[in-house]
Every structure is written in C-alpha cells, then in structure tokens.
Symmetry: C2
Subunit: 402 residues, 2 copies
Amino acid sequence: MDISKRANTIQASPLRKLMPFADKAKEEGKKIYHLNIGQPDIKTPDAILNEYRNFAEEVLAYGPSQGLKLYRENLVNYYKRHGIEVNPDEIVVTTAGSEALIFAMMVTCDPGDEIIIPEPFYTNYNGFSTIADVKIVPLTTYAEEGFDLPDKKTIEAKITDKTKAILLCNPGNPTGKVYTPEEMKRVAELALEYDLFVISDEVYREFVYDDLSHTSIMDMEELQERAVMVDSISKRYSACGARIGCLISKNSDLIAATIKFAQARLCPPTIDQLAANAAIDIEQEYFVDVLQEYKNRREIVFNALQKIDDVVCIKPKGAFYVIAKLPIDNAENFVKWMLTDFDIDGETVMFAPAEGFYATPAMGRDEVRLAYVLNTESLKKAMQIFTEGLITYKKLKKEYND
Amino acid sequence: MDISKRANTIQASPLRKLMPFADKAKEEGKKIYHLNIGQPDIKTPDAILNEYRNFAEEVLAYGPSQGLKLYRENLVNYYKRHGIEVNPDEIVVTTAGSEALIFAMMVTCDPGDEIIIPEPFYTNYNGFSTIADVKIVPLTTYAEEGFDLPDKKTIEAKITDKTKAILLCNPGNPTGKVYTPEEMKRVAELALEYDLFVISDEVYREFVYDDLSHTSIMDMEELQERAVMVDSISKRYSACGARIGCLISKNSDLIAATIKFAQARLCPPTIDQLAANAAIDIEQEYFVDVLQEYKNRREIVFNALQKIDDVVCIKPKGAFYVIAKLPIDNAENFVKWMLTDFDIDGETVMFAPAEGFYATPAMGRDEVRLAYVLNTESLKKAMQIFTEGLITYKKLKKEYND
C-alpha cells in the first residue's frame, strides 16, 4: 500500500536527522546549549497566561472561522501602534503563522504556480509549498552582502508567466535581514509591473535593532490590492505554543476567499485567541525590555563570531538569528562533530547547518544559523564553546587533509 | 489582481448564505432555536477546563510536531477502553479533526487522485478535498434506507485507477448512520481487492445508541496497513474550541509521512493538548450520562418527525444528527421562510438544508438536517415550532400551486 508521491517528497525537518546525535550526547551526560531552534526562553507575559487561568465559560465552543470578533477588533489597535491601518474585516485569525502562510499560498497560487522567495529562507516554506502544490523559485542572497536583495534585473530574471507572488520574511529568519524602504520599493515596482502579489511574513516585526524602522508591506500604498501580511504572536510574546497568527489583506476578494479556506477547518483555538487578545494591552515597555535583552544577546554572538578568523558575518539588524559563513567545507558535519566529539567540561552547543535554508543545491553548505534564544550568561558560555570547537575542528580537518 | 482559481472554487459554508436571514430575524427580536450546527451545549468537563486554569509553566513553548508525548501515551489508554490497540508512535496529534483529515487526504492521494465518500457527507470534506487537490467521488446513500451502504457492486462501480481511498464517517455526520460489521467488511474487501486506503472519521465514536457497538476501522485486522483513523475531542467532550484531534495508523510509512506534514506547521496548540490529556481520566460514567441525554433528545426529534405526514426518516443510530426528507420541493427555501416569515410567540427554528451534504447535483434538495444539540425542553419547543412551520408552509405552497 503506497503512500502518495507528495508524502514521499515533502521535506522532513532538516534538523531532525541531527536529533539522534543530540539525544545521544545528552544520554552520555553532556549539556547542550540549544542555538538550533527559534524557541525563545523569554517568559510569556502574565497577561497571556492569566487569560488561560481565568477562562470562565461553561462550554469550550467553536469560534467564528474568521476569528473572534473581539480579538480582530483589538488587533486593529496593535497595528495602529505600528502605523498600520487595518480594519477587523481585513483580518483572518489563523492557527499560527503556519496556517496563514498556507492560506496565503493557496489563495494567490494555483497548483504548479510559482512564488519567488529570497534564499536562505525559513525551511518550512518548503513544506507549505508542497502542501499548496506551489513551486518555490529561490532568489539567492549572500552572507557577504548581509543578505541584501539583489538588483531589479536579477529579481526580474526569476519571473515567469507562472509567477504569482514574491514572498518576503521581514525581519528575516534565518538571516536577521531587515529590508530597507528602497528594497521594499524595488519589490513593489516589480509586483506592479508583473501583476504579482507580495506576501510578507512579519512575525519578527518587534525585533528590529539599531533604531532602524521596520517597513511593513501594509505601509506600501501602491500595493493595497497586492499585499498579504502574515503574522503570529509566537515570537512577539514568546507564546509559540498558543498557535495564534493571522493573515491580513486590503484585497476584499482575497479575504473572502481566505475565509472560505478558514471555514473548512472551522476555527482557530478559542482560549488561545482570548490569550492573544489579552496580549494586546501589554505596554510597549515590555518590548523595550525584551528588545534590550535581544540586543545584548546579538552583541555576544556577533562579537564572538567576529573574533574568529575567516568567519564571514554581517551584523544582523533584526529577528534573533545570525548566519555565519565558516572556514570549513561542510557545516553539517561540524554540527554533528560538536555533538559527538567535542565538549568543554561536559558542555557543547547545537546549531543549525544553513544548507537546509537554501533551495539552490549546495548553497550554504559552509554556513550555520545561530538562534540567540538563551540568556546572556548561557550565550557567552555557548559562544566560547562554539569558538573553541570551530578552532579545534579546523585544525583537525587541516591535519587530516595535510 | 486575480486570486487563484482554487480560491474561487473552494466551497463556502452552505449555511453561510442563510446567516443574514438568521441575523435579520434576531434583529427583529425573534428567538431562534439553532438546530443548524453541531455545537453541543453540553458542559465541557471540569477536568478539561481546570487544565487551562492550572497551567504553571513560565514559557508557553512549542510542543513536538507529532504531539506531546505525555498525551500520546495517555491516549493509548483511552483507545484501550474501546478495544482499540495502538501505541504512541502510531498517533499524530493534530489541530482538530480538520487537520487530521487534510493530512489523511494528502498522505494517501496525489493531486487529481480520487476518494470515494458515501453521500450525504460532512460538507467540509469538500473544502479539505480542494485544499488537498483530491476529487471526491460520491457514493449515494438514501434516507429511505437509513443511509445504509450500497452493495459491493455499486461501490465497485465508483472505483477507477485514480481511486486511492474510501472515506467513511462513522458514526455519520449528517446521517447518524452507524456502519454494521457487515458493511465494514464490505469496504475492507474492496480495499484489499483494489489496493485502497480506508480513512475513517470516528469523531462521534462515543455517540452510539440502542446498545449497538461501534466498529472502528482499527478493529479490522485485515486493514492493518490500510486503515487511517481520524479523531477529535471536539464532540467527545464538548470541547470544540480546543482544536485537538489526531490521526492514527499502523502503517509506519504513512505515519512517518504524516509527521513530515506536521513538522511544516510545527505543532498543535500546547495547553489545549494538556487539556485533552486531562480528559482521558474522565470516568466512563460521564459518557453514560451524556449518552442518556442525547438519547432523550433523539427521541424528541425523531418522534416529532414521525408524527408529521409524509416525512421520511429512519431512526438514526449514532452521532447527534438526523436527516429528514420533507414533503416539499426545496428545503432551503423552507429554512429561509422559517426565519423570515414564521414564528410562534416570537420564536422560530433554524436547521440545515441537506443539499449541501451531497456532491451529486440536486440530491437532497427536499431534505434537512437537524442537530439535536439543545436541552430537551428547548428541543421540544423547537420541534413543535418545526412541525407547525412545516404544516403551514405545505399549505401555503399548495394554495400557491393550486
């Protein structure tokens, strides 16, 4: 009895194959600093957790398919604080950003259509594209250039008659890239010229450093009918387990269609929506503190990387990831080796080989992504181990090659 | 800027177009007894609600893509009580039954493949099939026959080289049908003969009346590699808003593939899984009481329908729905009329036209589905209004036609 071809081809999490090595290291008593996943350690605000604790209804009922009206009305205020004007009818609440991305692909593309995505990109876009039967056309960006968007001509060369959308992750996972207004303009021009949608995954909106301001897709006046924003509370409030996101668009046909997809699955989780709703009243002060914490972490990681010979890394401007190009051939082997063969006083570090974030074969093979999701003390320790590990590994490799 | 063709074609909820009539009736001060949706009024058990209230972690984190291990291990005990032997590795926790059904279609079928489903069927199967790009081939069953499965030859005639699975809803929404061991055997034989999967949506498992026993797809020894069970806590514990379901199979390739789909969306909601986990310890006594309540409700609805001239309705054996064939041409018009033109002392009833549950054009146009999800007192009142309404409507129609 054969399962489907798509079930055979859908990408398994690239990190998954490394888990047995991590499990084994733990079994052997090693402590692992996990810089491999985007699970923040920041405390979830009490406003959110209390909402779970205070649920007082007798029946845990379905909510509306578009999401609780109360929550959609309140979300408007959150976006207003960010200079984004939307109304509750332009919002579809989703089961996390994941579902919003699947919906965005399905309403903009038919099976076989193409979406252009700058690579390296969030690896689960691959899974969503298999689910939506959409082809991802990667637009390569480079560590050496801080993952800046290529010029117009280079992007243009990727557009075919199958292209329906350009998808940006801004601020970017795994790159930490924050697109400049000029880069956004470049994308907008192409969208107008070639009649494309622009899907913008802005789940890291709050995490922008160096007093940069974030340009949301909703800020682009000329893209009113073409902009699809994807959002989530997972990273914003360190509430990854709530699974509440949303899709926003000013294109009423697109929203009407998205609601039909949403009706099929009835509704997002009800109490989690109430929790997300409670989060909207959290003072901006909260983000100031959180941002300061992430800025400190970024300094620790970036400074450590800067000090290692032949490591290429431009300081990321947003999110909580950094990609580093390492002076080794195969980063995956290095990640494994750190788990199996290296430790300092019984401690080691796990991080992600970056190859899985590229769609172009062999790209990123010498790169890794570090997620700075641990407190500064742990992070200092982790980067010290990383540095020692890399130096030792390079030496070993050199001896082996000599 | 055009949205995709599939976004244009995905079915909107057939009930949705009736909502403006219900809203208007409410604005005019009418009270509506809602027998149109499967939202039970039964109190959600405290064991579930307390789990939300008692959440004590500091960070609301991602869970594993396959679902919390604790929950999967405990679920084994729930199924054991029903004579179903599964192990935790054979379970993938999903965001409600909806996601389990989408995964089931995607792992068994490639785009363009076919699934045979007895009609009338749960209308959202249409939406899932659009999402999965799978063609539903309806197998008509009839109100007059209590929605029994047709003979082997009739089913066989629906099988093509594109057929990958047969999907049963057992007990059935919207029919209340509980498949007999003989009917299950018929399906199993065909599955073996034609190399098909059998997907069984068993979310109404607990709601089986008249001392009948429920035959789960997992009970069919010969289907070990072909059986895919879909489940949900929504109806079982009146916890529709939790959005926790699962997909179960003993086919390890199928489970491995399902996990890959699950990885793309990271995980189901975390606290809701803990709540679902707490539900497993709920005594069987709970179901005895709930079942008695639903049995009483079924009697009220069925007896009322029996007393109306020319209404065809075989007593349903399970779930909490009944389909009735009415002596009128167009049930949708009748539903509308009940909202716009009829009331008794300012009260009326809303129910679902059954046509939306059929894929064969024009089938079910004279049928309605009543969900007995209100307490017995409300239900008595509702059925009295339904009866008076139908008699009045028939008379009006007759006068008009004469």
